[in-house]
């Protein structure tokens, strides 16, 4: 009960911040811009990737995207972009301020003189971080899908897994199995839940950093820098052996969900991988927080 009460006020105090409202507005604005670009020019990340493909395959991709355009396809095509660029940035912006903003305001001092354990306090923060991350992810998922359906209509989804990962696109042969509208929507939600777990790793990383630094901005900058640095490292050929250990290399593990026969074993292994990553980062952040002298 104590935990739920504290969580309730964590939600109250954070959801009343204007920046939370603006974050949702930013998601809506970006998705609207992407829809405008898509409807006006058929621009989307898949046709962008397809430029690198050979003539016939490229033509097939363009044709498939063109002919099967609907809300489901729009939402799925832009999932990669949103889950790679937008959601991790929002996760960092909100996770990175959870402890450091309390340090900056001095409210951490007030809170920790209360009969609350540091473990309880930190866990409440983590639970809030999970809720807000899930909130951003689900809002992005539903808003993108809803807006797509509103402007482009409904229909089956041309299984676009082959489009979404460059290595899959290279194998694209033009033979794709469409998913029924209902199946596609369920798969789409499952894929976004997997995205939520990956993005949560970024939230946990920034929460951990926010226990170390005093300034809110510093935690965010370090976390986002790490995110992009790790991405660059995963693309470096001579660091190939590091790839499995760098969580950013698995940020698109949701892609196979859209294949005709999703490899559930591989997906579950990656879920476990992210769960362990989250737990480890949580443990590091907690250890720092438990030992820290509150001098603010």
């Amino acid at each position: 009960m104590r935990f739920l009460r504290a969580l309730k006020y964590e939600l109250v105090k954070n959801l009343r911040k204007k920046r939370t409202f603006w974050a949702f507005v930013a998601i809506a604005a970006l998705v609207s811009i992407l829809l405008t670009a898509y409807t006006a020019t058929r621009w989307n990340p898949v046709t962008y990737y397809a430029k690198g493909l050979g003539g016939v395959r490229r033509a097939l991709v363009m044709k498939a995207v063109d002919e099967c355009a609907n809300g489901a396809l729009f939402a799925t095509l832009f999932m990669g972009l949103l889950s790679f660029a937008l959601l991790p940035v929002l996760a960092v912006a909100f996770g990175g301020e959870l402890i450091s903003s309390e340090i900056q305001l001095g409210t951490l001092r007030t809170a920790l003189t209360r009969p609350v354990t540091r473990l309880g306090y930190y866990t409440t923060k983590y639970a809030y971080a999970a809720i807000i991350t899930l909130g951003f992810v689900l809002f992005t998922a539903l808003f993108t899908y809803g807006l797509g359906v509103a402007f482009l209509g409904r229909g089956p989804l041309l299984a676009p897994a082959a489009f979404l990962r460059p290595s899959f696109a290279a194998q694209f042969s033009g033979v794709t199995q469409p998913l029924s509208e209902q199946t596609a929507f369920v798969r789409y939600l499952v894929a976004y839940l997997l995205v939520a777990l990956a993005v949560m790793t970024m939230t946990t990383l920034s929460l951990t950093l926010s226990t170390v630094v005093k300034h809110t901005g510093a935690a965010m900058i370090i976390a986002i820098s790490l995110y992009f640095i790790l991405h660059i490292l995963t693309m470096t050929p001579w660091l190939e052996s590091w790839r499995p250990y760098l969580f950013v290399s698995k940020m698109d593990y949701w892609v196979p969900v859209f294949t005709a026969d999703p490899p559930s074993g591989e997906i579950w292994r990656t879920v476990a991988y992210f769960a362990v990553y989250n737990a480890a980062l949580f443990a590091v952040g907690l250890a720092v927080f438990l030992r820290r002298d509150i001098q603010c």
Binding site: M1, R2, R5, A6, K8, Y9, V12, K13, R16, K17, K18, L105, G106, T107, R109, T110, A111, L112, T113, R114, P115, V116, T117, Y121, D293, I294, Q295
Partner: protein
């Protein structure tokens, strides 16, 4: 029976090579308004942070109402309400929501309790206002309200008058005295405004360089002897006479007077000795030693 609400034993805190608090043993009894005095950098705030669980001592123990803080943090802190340094709140929330947010960390708080607490500090009509619109004095009051919300047995206030104008200082002082009386709460208050402590406190401790210099009831610390001011000529010679021949300790002196602690029955003897030595004594003023004198005397001794 020991009726201490707060005891520290050999409390020590080091920051690197610097010892901020050095083997500090304090005892605050229930019902006290306990003043915690010391010059800037003496270790007052570090001690308060240790007592409120914000920082960990390197050595020593803290017992709140018979409960060891380190072992039973939650039980111990349930007895404490604290305002450490400047009051800190969420500026985008109302005073009521701030109180509820902090209050919820300890227990379920009803709206009636929130209103009652705001009423205690004179902010009942302003509960719905956002804290960003509050003056420093109002924030200070809200900080005290926040500390009172868990209905503590011990109220710890760190420099509660800091940054307030004279009127604000008086208001906060009156508030603390009335709270101590009406709510039957023990108050542990750190301050460097000696007159404020003198008017509020029943007992006090003085620390300097992290070490306890003295603690006890104010009257006890002052001692029975008044401070006597002698107005006279040739002060330097008179001082030498008193210190070397009569073995007295002069507290302070300037061009026209010197001050020393002296029992009432000895005033006439000292006066006679000065007159015999050819001094023209034009004034003898006995007065109770002020806290300021006591503080300066003790902290100067600790430096020496």
């Amino acid at each position: 029976m020991n009726d201490a609400i707060l005891e520290t034993q050999d409390l020590t805190k080091r920051f690197g090579a610097r010892v901020a608090v050095d083997r500090l043993s304090l005892c605050v009894e229930r019902g006290d308004v306990f003043g915690f005095l010391g010059p800037n950098g003496a270790g007052k705030t570090t001690t308060i942070r240790m007592v409120t669980g914000l920082i960990r001592p390197n050595r020593g123990r803290i017992v709140v109402g018979g409960v060891r803080l380190r072992r039973h943090r939650r039980r111990a802190l349930a007895k404490v309400g604290a305002l450490v340094e400047t009051p800190a709140f969420y500026p985008h929330l109302s005073a009521l929501n701030n109180l509820a947010a902090f209050g919820s960390l300890s227990r379920r708080v009803t709206r009636a309790e929130l209103d009652e607490t705001l009423d205690l500090v004179g902010l009942l009509g302003r509960g719905a206002d956002k804290v960003r619109a509050y003056s420093h004095g109002m924030k200070q009051r809200l900080g005290i309200a926040c500390a009172l919300l868990p209905r503590p047995e011990l109220l710890v206030l760190d420099e509660p008058s800091d940054g307030l104008d004279p009127r604000g200082i008086k208001e906060v002082r009156d508030l603390i005295v009335s709270l101590a009386r009406e709510l039957d709460v023990t108050v542990f208050i750190s301050s460097h405004i000696l007159s404020e402590v003198e008017q509020m406190c029943t007992r006090l401790a003085i620390i300097d360089h992290g070490r306890l210099v003295k603690q006890g009831a104010i009257a006890e610390l002052r001692g029975p002897e008044p401070v006597v001011t002698f107005g006279l000529d040739r002060v330097a010679e008179a001082k030498a006479l008193l210190e070397k021949q009569l073995g007295l300790s002069v507290l302070s002196s300037d061009e026209a007077e010197l001050r020393l602690k002296l029992a009432h029955e000895r005033i006439a003897d000292v006066n006679a000795a000065l007159v015999r030595a050819g001094h023209r004594v034009h004034a003898i003023v006995p007065e109770q030693q002020s806290l300021e004198d006591l503080f300066l005397e003790l902290t100067e001794k600790s430096i020496l």
